[in-house]
Amino acid sequence: MPLVTRNIEPRHLCRQTLPSVRSELECMTNITLANVIRQLGSLSKYAEDIFGELFTQANTFASRVSSLAERVDRLQVKVTQLDPKEEEVSLQGINTRKAFRSSTIQDQKLFDRNSLPVPVLETYNTCDTPPPLNNLTPYRDDGKEALKFYTDPSYFFDLWKEKMLQDTKDIMKEKRKHRKEKKENPNRGNVNPRKIKTRKEEWEKMKMGQEFVESKEKLGPSGYPPTLVYQNGSIGSIENVDASNYPPPPQSDSTSPPSPSFSEDSLPPPPAEFSYPADNGQPAAPPPLSDTTKPKSSLPPVSDARSDLLSAIRQGFQLRRVEEQREQEKRDVVGNDVATILSRRIAVEYSDSEDDSSEFDEDEWSD
């Protein structure tokens, strides 16, 4: 529905009830002329608006141009200074210098309430405000704002945020899997069948949710625990870790894993297990803060007996709720300043999906 930006009032010149005067025609003319004058008034107001906007834009550009001119001058001076000197740059200089990083600021919050042009904002203000449902918020148990059930302007952003978080997790899981499998079998010939299988298993895992915990014991080698702790988009660190510490594959003792044998010395401490059910039970909850200090190569102990595993998992379930709350609070604090981090996350995601040979991800998650 097209919205008119500026509406000139009054819209109709002659549609009015006439006062009972003798000379109706003259009366009409006078009324019409008066309305014309009103229209001219509103027109001039909008004209001032338009020119004001254009003026501010032109001003910003002028300032940018002047700063650019300054930089160009400085560069010119530098270049003329460099010419007569010998070239100092040696091969070492070329290699040791940091690679060029362009600091491109992405435009975010383009269509925010603040960027609404003034006349449209005025039109918006003439609308009714939503009902004050937030007065009911103290009576709610789950801590959400009551107005969010009626109208929530941040709904789509939150949805997208969750989707992005999930995507990064999935991509990192896949990467870890690929790397692990590569390291497991350096001499494997057929990569493709294995990849497809893991993907299917991943989807099954996501479907199963909490059943995953039980199926993990049965699945054996495919029950791959994403205990690699990570914060927002820190894929680089995981790569380092994987390179340095080859993590033993996590498995239950029932099936014979195709993976190579692990050393019992590398048993990670139990808390590492707790992040595992948390991760799979609720994909939206990142691993707890305490685990960030743990080495990222920590995987659940493989050689534990089933009873130990079950008890550890049960404790994990109990711990999970507390950690969940902590994570929620932490995320609330970080809040929507993370919008820039999110946009960075997209960049990471798309670079990952390019590196990843799986078109599967792109097909599923891109529009």
Partner: protein, 67 residues
């Protein structure tokens, strides 16, 4: 009868003249608004191209400065 028609005719004639006058004014108002809109759009498009050249130049300068 002729006496009655004359003043009425004159009034009607006058009314038509007034209406034509109003019509002229309103059509000129519409030309003004059209001109304003056109001006606005053309200015914005030119400023946008300027913007793009500015950002391209800025990036190039950053690159050169880094080297």
């Amino acid at each position: 009868m002729v006496g009655q028609e004359d003043p009425v005719q004159r009034e009607i004639h006058q009314d038509w003249a007034n209406r034509e006058y109003n019509e002229v004014i309103t059509s000129s108002i519409m030309t003004i608004t059209d001109f304003l809109n056109l001006f606005d759009m053309s200015c914005r498009s030119r400023l946008a191209t300027l913007n793009e050249t500015l950002t391209a130049l800025e990036r190039r300068i950053e690159y050169i400065e880094a080297r």
